[in-house]
Amino acid sequence: MSAVEDRALAPPELGDLFASEIRGESKLAAVAKQVLLTAGSAFLLLGIWEVLSRIDPAFWPQVILSKPTDIIPAFFKAITSGFVWENLWVTFQETIFGFAIGAAGGFLFGVLIAISRTFSRATYPIVILFQTTPRVALAPVFIAWFGFGMSSKVALAAAICFFPVLINTITGLAVVDENALLLMRSLKASKFQTFVHLRLLSAMPSIFAGLKSALTFALIGAVIAELLGSNEGMGQLIDAASFLLQMDDVFAYLMVLGLLGLALFLVVNLVEKKLVFWHSNWDEG
């Protein structure tokens, strides 16, 4: 693949769709603008929220809406209290175990479907059928099967993770440069060698795209299962607080969950940058 094609294939920078020229912006200036603009819009949003929650207490029952100025202290109270960390640890474990099981299963299944025609014919239609079913609806089933403990949450997280990894593994392994396959044939590479040296590596960017959405889905799965029936975890905390109409706490726990999700995403991103180094944008190289 030539450099020119490579650049063309690289995703356009967000917001540059209508850019008429290449902007000569230094990296520092770009980062500074990014930080300032994000912080600015966040403050604007919180400001509007704060104003709305203060105009007319009768019209906006403050007990339901909650105020940013109340949520932020609640957030700091949450992250300094031990029981929030204990429950966060539970949710974290459910997410990671669910992700590990679901992603490993999706990857292995995807590889089998990609390399064996018999296996693919036997299972792929069923896989597609399952994929079109909303898997969060399985939460009550898993709770009935595995109880109120962590295992039912791990099961739901795994079930949700499975498909994005599976589909992306299959697509990644199927889409391989024709000339590269021809080259491997001309070198008399075995099927196994072609798989290890070419297919698997060229599928990596696609597999990682699947892993990234899978990790986000795993957290969603764990929290949904906790909301539906649990005695621990962030989902359970949110459920309990909203039952008591403690909306400040609910929003504080949501912020904690959001930060967990962000941290997990950044870790996968970092691993991807290290492992699939050849696929990042041209200018970063």
């Binding site: 030539s2 490579d6 440069d177 000339n179 021809l182 070198l187 040296h197 590596l201 990596m204 190289g285």
Partner: protein, 287 residues
């Protein structure tokens, strides 16, 4: 044909049958070109795609003998079957009729002593230049101890020194094709098949790489089949230009190019060169 560079006779890297190649360099009147046993023999090769009655005849009854060390170009318009012929010689595609032999052995599947190069460099982006060049060794599970030395040799030969640890995307298109050439040369194949290797490059890079290829080919003395639709490029590089036509794909004529070697860029300015280009154009029916 003048043999005025005896120090190149042995070849620096190509150690296969230098003596026979040297023979071929003698006066063609003394040693008839197809006098020796051919290294590659293409005998009555036809290729049809689809059903026999309705199918497209890509190649019809191609016969060609190539001696050891010879540089042959296949030239013709799109659809003349030149790439199909190359794939048949490589063993990637079976012929419908006829056969191709290498050193008397029938080619039925890809072989490790036949190397290929394509229009795109087809480098693995996750491998450095050096590791890309090592790919044939990795696939052949060749654990020879002089791997590194051999890679260094071809890197030097193609002027890639200093880029060993770069990744393909850090190189220009021309540099990427040099890496692809290295990957082809590294396992010292008996036969090199080049399918429009510089077709996607700009004119300046293409000319520079052609001069390089002529130099390397004279040094390594590899039997080469070069597919192109660029007439001047074919004349510049080749000992013989095989002119092909379409519907059905077939050989129209074979033009001998007896320009002196080593071929340097200056050859292009000579009358003999333009005469041979004219011959090829006439054979193609362009004049």
């Amino acid at each position: 044909m003048v043999k005025n560079q005896p120090e190149q006779r042995g070849g620096v890297l190509g150690r296969s049958a230098p003596a026979r190649r040297a023979n071929r360099r003698l006066d063609p009147a003394e040693v008839p070109r197809d006098g020796g046993t051919p290294l590659v023999a293409i005998e009555g090769v036809s290729k049809a795609f689809g059903a026999r009655e309705t199918g497209l005849v890509a190649l019809q009854d191609v016969n060609l003998s190539i001696t050891d060390g010879e540089f042959i170009s296949l030239v013709g318009p799109s659809g003349c079957g030149k790439s199909t012929l190359l794939k048949i010689v490589s063993g990637l595609l079976p012929a419908s009729r006829g056969q191709v032999t290498l050193g008397g052995e029938r080619i039925v599947s890809p072989r490790r002593d036949i190397g290929m190069m394509f229009q795109t460099a087809t480098l693995f982006p996750w491998r450095t230049v050096k590791r890309n060049i090592m790919l044939p060794f990795d696939i052949a599970r060749d654990k020879r101890t002089d791997r590194e030395a051999r890679v260094a040799e071809v890197i030097q030969l193609t002027g890639l020194d200093g880029f060993e640890n770069n990744y393909p995307r850090e190189l220009s298109g021309g540099m990427q094709q040099r890496v692809a050439l290295c990957r082809l040369l590294v396992s010292n194949p008996r036969l090199m098949l080049l399918d429009e290797p510089f077709g996607a490059l700009d004119e300046f890079t293409r000319e520079r790489l052609n001069v390089e290829l002529a130099r390397i080919s004279e040094l390594e003395r590899k039997t080469t089949i070069f597919v192109t639709h660029n007439i001047t490029e074919a004349v510049f590089l080749s000992d013989r230009v095989v002119v092909m036509g379409t519907r059905p794909g077939r050989v129209l004529d074979i033009v001998d190019i007896e320009l002196p070697r080593p071929r340097r860029a200056g050859v292009i300015a000579t009358h003999e060169y333009s005469d041979r280009v004219g011959d090829v154009r006439r054979a193609l029916g362009l004049v």
